[in-house]
Symmetry: D2
Subunit: 284 residues, 4 copies
């Protein structure tokens, strides 16, 4: 079982207009025989250097129309070329370059890196098994300054947390979903739609928001919203790593702090995770 | 000589609409007497805990209309309150929260973190000296996929670099400038204008760009452009940490790679720095 | 499903001699009912603040005789106290403080941080299931400057790697093993013995070393050695993240470089993983 | 003004015994003319690729007997070879590989990375000026669990910190010193002696320690001790980035916590810096 990471740039032109994708690819392979480990027999081992060459050649030949299609291309290549491969997984992650605009006019060859959530995908396949495609977004940091609370939780002698009905909800999201049979999907379009769904469920309507009674409920709302709006998604996992903020007590300093100044509490750092799928998926 | 770092959130409301600033403040103090070091006499020492309280109280009382104004407020407070302070510097850096939009409609209380260049500022003052204000942007990553070269450089027996007239120009920018006498400046507006100038000089006109003969020349163009367009700027320092990309040689793999696939070269990592000011500034 | 991270220091004294453990604890809980997610009903939810309090109280009451015993204590507490907990996992990691020595004399209360491999452990339990204990070491960086090669691997049209019989073997190890029924183990002593086994198998005899025909074989040797020498270990997983070094080609510079100057190749970054257990374990 | 970073390994053998140095070198150059910035005229520019080649060639030819000697070699080469160089600085930092030992026997070619303080040095020279050599240690983390307090500090209406006579002293040290005229110094031996002085002054006598009334005083003690014991040192700068620990208040949890359980306070993060030199140095 081995993996390796390759980072590269893929450029292409349409007339004078230039396009760029910078990606990090991580390919995992498992061979049918463990002889390399047990006997030091390397005859079936595919060196990481060869894996790197293959990934670069595929990028050169096929381009990267979408991260997902590129991950699929990699899996297909390893499965069809090497009979000693029992399992292959390709993880592809994007550096978020966006075209620069000057007064609304898009620039022909200049880009700025805007990391407001990183797109990634994964394709995996066992020999004789189906090709499964996942996609996701990570490092997406969101904050609601109101419409969030936490009340009615379990209490015992170790409880010191007060109930709160107006706190800050802030955290970093990791969302990963799987597609069912995925021929002819417009992966780029679907990904954008899912990102919008996530932001909408987190924030609620622009004029008033929507009250969140817990991180857990917010996570669940996101999942329900994505599953109801995007039929291609089969299962969706959401992890929320919270940052807590405490209202600074300024009584000793002679002031009343009406949720105006807050400090982050770095410990404890909480996280909640949930995986939700369609009924048909789990029944299948 | 001591410093410390405080991170906090400042909220305020206008009607139902909420606003948020998350900042990291670093305050440096130097006292008139070194007795704390030499004798272990703490009687003039201002504990970091007190410094933290003061910063939070100032944020509560004054808000953060701009990073620069907040840094000025901190300097003023320490200079006027503590006669044992010989020097004070306040560094303020912003977490880049941006208001969320749904279909173009701004959300009343939800935000997303978009780190496409981090805004910071610095104010410093020696007792009986002027208050000096700096501002800047850091972690700004830009790329041009063409219109960049490097030719005609110095050569000797240790030179192996080929001349190139069509390479990638990619790097992370750090820009810091100082203001002259700065009463009544609209710091937020000036900062945005300078950021635009930096992007424009880097990229050139949107339809064709502008050829860069070296990193150094690009750095200089940015400085000249800012100085010519923003009269409030006295001196500007620009540091460019380059990422080099090499076109992958695919001859051994039977392919011609026409600047389509490139890999980053992590070593050597280059950097070029230049500080440029107005003539009047250096003559003064 | 939720987790959170708590970092703290536990001191104790024996006479005037002081002892310190600094640990990071991450507790994961899964409840029997998902109602918190689906209905926003928080009545069974144990806040991360309460979890933090419990971990600190256990540290205060029981001390940290070993990381493993502390992780076991945490699992036991949650399983016996909260009937709504379906699953608990406690991960404990140590900050590697070592007692300072002056001319060989141990200091009574001073310590230095020596991160040459980080000790960690994990205990987990499902309700009505057994308590399982893992231990491990991570961030352990080792290098052999000779006695390592890679030859006889699979070749095709994408192969460009030359065969090598004298390369650098360098990488970061992650090793994690599980104990069987683990009452009355001296976890501290066993951990030290396993660390020694890992170093011995990596390096070979001090006067000559032992040839490694591949990373995979080295990983396997470590596993075999630990299993043969430490009967308490049931299964051991080893991950090796390699750093590759290339001998710099100095022909263009008029010099012959006989493996004297090498540069790290940051791309591709390779990794190999293997899990090995006793026959009886897999048969059971 | 430009710099760049090069990382490499230098091996050498004495009989069968192998030795390794892994270093990161950062070379800064300033040219006599700014024409590269102003006119885009590259004719005097020394590409980073050439700088990298020179550093590697020097490592190949001279080896790295000490970091300081290697930094001196780099400065000398650039000053004597390139008349367009007005200023050169070479920073060299070591990856802390230590020889492995098995039962006290040193291994012939195996090493472990032990980052308990990183050694670095700097040499710099202006054309027609003296060569100045600095050395230092960074990322050195030390802790005293007692014999530290902070009392008698300045108080006003913003003071909330209680006085403490038995707190934890913990922090990360950065120490950098300069040598005077430094021909024929045994840099390796001096560096080890200074490291010992730092640890001794921090900790005090092994059987009882020595009370520290403030971070500032501890910083000053280290400086005084080094200057008194190591005549080659002219000036020494010490920066201490503190980690504060608070005793957890367990009254609400029905327990008395007698400085047994403490949590790190990540905000505010304090730092104190002091530079101390010989009288003769400042008079000169």
């Amino acid at each position: 079982y081995g993996k390796n990471t390759i980072k590269f740039l893929r450029l292409h032109k349409e007339g004078k207009k230039q396009f760029v994708k910078e990606v990090e690819v991580c390919a995992h392979l498992r061979l049918t025989s463990p002889q390399e480990y047990l006997d030091g027999n390397n005859s079936l081992v595919i060196p990481t250097d060869t894996i790197k060459n293959i990934v670069l050649v595929l990028a050169k030949k096929n381009g990267i129309p979408s991260l997902e299609q590129f991950a699929i291309d990699i899996c297909n290549h390893f499965m069809t070329t090497f009979c000693q491969v029992a399992y292959v997984k390709a993880y592809v992650q994007e550096v978020p370059w966006q075209r620069l605009h000057e007064d609304g006019v898009p620039h022909i060859h200049s880009f700025i890196c805007v990391p407001d959530g990183i797109r990634f995908c994964e394709a995996e396949q066992c020999r004789n098994g189906p090709l499964i495609v996942f996609a996701g977004i990570k490092d997406l940091k969101l904050m609601k300054t109101t419409q969030s609370g936490f009340e009615g939780f379990y209490k015992n002698e170790h409880t010191t947390l007060p109930e709160r009905h107006d706190r800050i909800l802030c955290g970093e999201f990791f969302c990963k979903w799987s597609y069912g049979e995925c021929k002819d999907f417009d992966f780029n379009c679907i990904w954008k739609k899912i990102r919008e769904c996530i932001l909408e469920s987190f924030a609620g309507p622009p004029d008033c928001g929507e009250y969140s009674p817990s991180y857990q409920k917010t996570v669940n709302c996101i999942q329900m919203h994505v599953l109801s709006r995007v039929p291609q998604v089969q299962v969706i996992e959401v992890v929320l790593n919270n940052t807590f903020y405490n209202v600074v007590d300024m009584k000793n300093l002679g002031l009343t702090n009406d949720k105006e100044v807050l400090v982050p509490v770095e410990t404890p750092y909480g996280s909640c995770t949930c995986t939700l799928g369609r009924k048909s998926f789990f029944e299948a």
